[in-house]
Structure formats: structure tokens, C-alpha cells
Amino acid sequence: MTLPGASQLPIGAVVTEPGSTRRNTTAGWRAYKPVIHDDRCVRCQLCWLYCPEGTIVELRGVFQIGGRKYDVKYEVVYDYCKGCGICANECPTRAIEMVPEVV
């Protein structure tokens, strides 16, 4: 790939596309991947709160788990998860399991 020349680049090294690190997925950084066992999740929000990558998302909807009904569900967007395991470490119900990535 040939990179753009000086005259084609915005002057002064200004980056004009906000949030463009999104182009760089960091899934490859992971050795372990977090798997949320939804049946054990009590919707405490802590994994979402602490994820350094902001890559645990809240889904709105109606979720029936056994006898309980929730209006929210937490899911990992794996594109950006670096596998740090903070979510699993902070989860009060041990609902998140760190599973080795198979290469």
C-alpha cells in the first residue's frame, strides 16, 4: 500500500476523523476471552462500568432468565476486548468466565 504524499495530507498532522482508532481492532491482543453466562448475571452493571475499552454493551429488550425478567442484557463486543479480565474479576456472581482463545 502506498501512503499519501505530503501534499495530500491535512497540514500540521491534524487528525480529522474523531474516534478513528475504531479502525484498529484489538481482539488479537487477547489470550483469554470473557464469556458472560447470562443465567448467572444479576445486571449489576459493574462489568460495563469498569471495562477499560468500553466494549461491554448494554442491550435493551425483554430478557427472560429462568423465573426472572430483565430489561437489559450485557454483551462483550469482541472486536475491542483486550482480554484483561477486569470484568470477570469484578463480577460479583462470577458470571463471567475467562476462556482460553484457541488459535
Binding site: L9, A13, V15, P18
Partner: protein, 385 residues
């Protein structure tokens, strides 16, 4: 309107005329009276600007850089130690393409500490990517600061307007002041390519890898070449609007001169002209070439002016220790000539260091030396060896 002003006050009046938005400054002799005058203008309400009294020159330049990034028209001024302290930000300001205008009454650098004039401070910034003017009268300081905004905002580069500390910064001269309404029309607020605006967020100052860095340096090279055109164009238009223009270089008795002294700034130019007059009276075809635009260097103009002369001397007021010849302007002039295939015997004269008195007779002696022999080498004048 005509006023008797020092060059420092002339700079302050130009800043007022340019309706600058943000000023950040820190006092240092001989720049201080600019800060004082601007403080008066802001206190009296004559200038509607935010004036930031920073805690250092490093911060002053950083603050105007930030303000320029936010889209404001900005000004700062410093000399000597202050300029040296801000050195890191000089490079950053030009590389980030910030249209800052800075007045720089030139002063010797420590040690030993000396508040008087030479150009060691300004010459240290010659490779920092700034457009650098060296003015030779209070009128020219006033006109050049105003022109500087056009150039800075046109080509997105910072502009320094240097002149002799004390010898000009504190000396009264008559200055013709423009109608400020006309200046406002001469300096319309142009839209900047990128500013810090929450509605269109951009990132200034990223981390750049070897794959990209060189291209941004090359952009600066191109911008400097464009700056030369902007300086010419702005000067011509300024002349049409306000009746005064200067060119990139200024010649005195050059047309038929055999022996020429090349120099910059007020005192050296004044003395050199008087010495040329004296030499002419005694039958020597003497002339003077003054460099007004130091960066980007007016290579073509210099070569053209010197091609027909027998020999020339470059009078420098700064020292590049350990260099093949210690005068910074000398190096530029000789290189310019070499690149154009012109090889002439020439002298480098170092004088006025730390404001050592420069007399007309000294420069007259330079003309004599030029006439007596095809000199080559460096002549240290005025020093007790």
C-alpha cells in the same frame, strides 16, 4: 496619524490595529515595554483582547499556540533568555502550523548576562520553521507586524518580527499610524483549515511514526517557499493600501557598487549607509544590502544584488561557535552564491556583540579592507583580543 514611538510601542500599536484576540506575554528586557503598552491598551478598553500574564515565556508561547488552535488571532513577544526558554515550543508552533505573530527585540544571550543588543537570540531560531523578518526602523516594525498577520494566516506559519533591542526598542522615531478601520479590512478574519471546535472535533498533535513524520516536515519546507511569495505579495498590497513597502531586501547605493556590506537590523544598516556615504565621498564605489526577510531566505534577491560587485562583506551580530566562519548570515549569503555558481572573495565581519559600540568608521574600515585585498575569512571588530 504620526506619532513619535519606540519600535516596541510601534509593535504594540500594530497589535492594536490588528485587533488581536489573545496576547500572552512575560516580561524581559528589552521587550517589556511592549507588554506594558499592550496592558495599557487592554486596560483602557482600546484593545478588546484577553491578556494572559503567564508565569514564563515557555507558557506564553504555549498559551498563544492553544489560543491560535482555538481560532483566535494571537500575539506574543520576547527576547533573549525568554526566547531560549520557549525554544521547544518554537518548533512545535511552526510544525503545528499556527499563525502566531511574535515581536522579538533582539538581545544578547547569557552568560555572562547582558541585557543589551545583539542577534544571538534570533539567530538561534533560524531553523525552527518560523518566518523571520528583521526590521530596521520603528515604522518598519509597525508595518511588518501588520503584514505579519496576513502572511501568518495566509500560509499557516508563525511569524517573528525581530529588530535591535534597545537601539530600536527604546529609541523614539516618527511613525505613521494607519487608520485602524483600513487595517481591519486589510486583515479580514479568514476561516482556518482546522480549529478546536466541539462541533467538528479534530486531533492536533498526534503521535506520528517514521511512516508519516517526514511528510509533515516536507509540508513545512513547501510552506516556507509559499511564505516567500506571501511576503512579497503582502508587501506589495500593503504598499498599495498604506503607501509603504520594503521588499525582501533593501539596497543602498547598490546600482554601481563594487564593494558591498551586507547586514540586518537598524543600527548596522544605519552605520553602514553612513560609512558608504563616507566611502563614496572618497571615491570608493561602496553600497549596502540589508536583509529584511531572514527566513525564508531571499536567495534570488541576494544573489542578484551581489552578482555584479567585486567583493562584499557580511556584517553579523551573532556568533556560531566553531563554525567554518562564525557569522550566521555570512553562511547563508555564501551558500546562496555558491548554489548559483557565483564565487566571489568575501569577508565575514563580527561586530556589535553584546551591543559593543559599532562606529561608522568601523564600517568604513570594512570598505577599505574590501578594496585593499580580496579578503576571505572572519574579521572580529571592536573586540580586545
Amino acid at each position: 496619524m504620526r506619532e513619535a514611538l519606540t519600535s516596541n510601542y510601534a509593535a504594540a500599536y500594530a497589535v492594536k490595529a490588528a485587533d488581536v484576540d489573545v496576547i500572552a506575554v512575560y516580561p524581559i528586557t528589552p521587550q517589556t515595554t511592549i507588554v506594558e503598552k499592550l496592558s495599557e491598551f487592554v486596560s483602557s478598553g482600546e484593545l478588546d483582547a484577553e491578556l494572559i500574564h503567564t508565569e514564563s515565556e515557555h507558557s506564553a508561547l504555549s498559551a498563544v499556540l492553544g489560543a491560535a488552535a482555538a481560532g483566535a488571532r494571537v500575539f506574543t513577544a520576547t527576547s533573549s533568555q525568554g526566547l531560549a526558554l520557549a525554544y521547544e515550543v518554537l518548533h512545535i508552533a511552526s510544525a503545528m502550523r499556527m499563525p502566531i505573530v511574535m515581536a522579538t527585540p533582539a538581545r544578547a544571550l547569557s552568560a555572562p548576562i547582558n541585557i543589551h543588543n545583539d542577534y544571538s537570540d534570533v539567530m538561534n531560531m533560524r531553523d525552527t520553521g518560523w518566518v523571520i523578518y528583521i526590521a530596521s526602523s520603528a515604522q518598519e516594525v509597525y508595518d511588518t507586524v501588520i503584514q505579519g498577520y496576513r502572511v501568518a494566516e495566509g500560509v499557516n506559519l508563525p511569524v517573528a518580527v525581530a529588530y535591535d533591542g534597545f537601539l530600536m526598542s527604546h529609541t523614539l522615531e516618527p511613525v505613521e499610524l494607519n487608520d485602524e478601520g483600513e487595517v481591519a479590512k486589510f486583515l479580514p478574519r479568514a476561516a482556518r483549515p482546522h480549529v478546536l471546535d466541539p462541533r467538528r472535533p479534530v486531533t492536533f498533535g498526534p503521535l506520528v511514526s517514521p511512516d508519516w513524520y517526514y511528510e509533515f516536515k516536507y509540508q513545512q519546507v513547501t510552506a516556507m517557499n509559499e511564505a516567500r511569495e506571501w511576503v512579497v505579495k503582502t508587501d506589495v498590497e500593503y504598499g498599495q493600501w498604506f503607501g509603504r513597502s520594503y521588499g525582501l531586501v533593501e539596497g543602498y547605493l547598490l546600482e554601481d557598487a563594487d564593494y558591498v556590506v551586507v547586514t540586518y537590523g537598524g543600527a548596522a544598516y544605519g552605520n553602514a549607509r553612513a560609512a558608504a556615504d563616507l566611502a563614496r565621498e572618497r571615491g570608493v564605489a561602496a553600497g549596502v544590502l540589508r536583509i529584511r526577510l531572514y527566513r525564508p531566505f531571499p536567495t534570488g534577491e541576494v544573489v542578484k544584488a551581489l552578482s555584479g560587485v567585486k567583493t562584499f562583506a557580511v556584517l553579523d551580530r551573532a556568533i556560531m561557535f566553531g563554525s567554518p566562519a562564525e557569522g550566521p548570515l555570512y553562511k547563508d549569503v555564501v551558500l546562496a552564491m555558491y548554489l548559483h555558481g557565483v564565487d566571489k572573495p568575501s569577508l565575514n565581519v563580527i561586530h556589535g556583540i553584546g551591543q559593543r559600540a559599532m562606529y561608522v568608521r568601523d564600517i568604513y574600515k570594512v570598505f577599505q579592507a574590501l578594496r585593499e585585498g580580496p579578503g576571505r575569512g572572519v574579521m572580529y571588530m571592536g573586540v580586545r583580543p
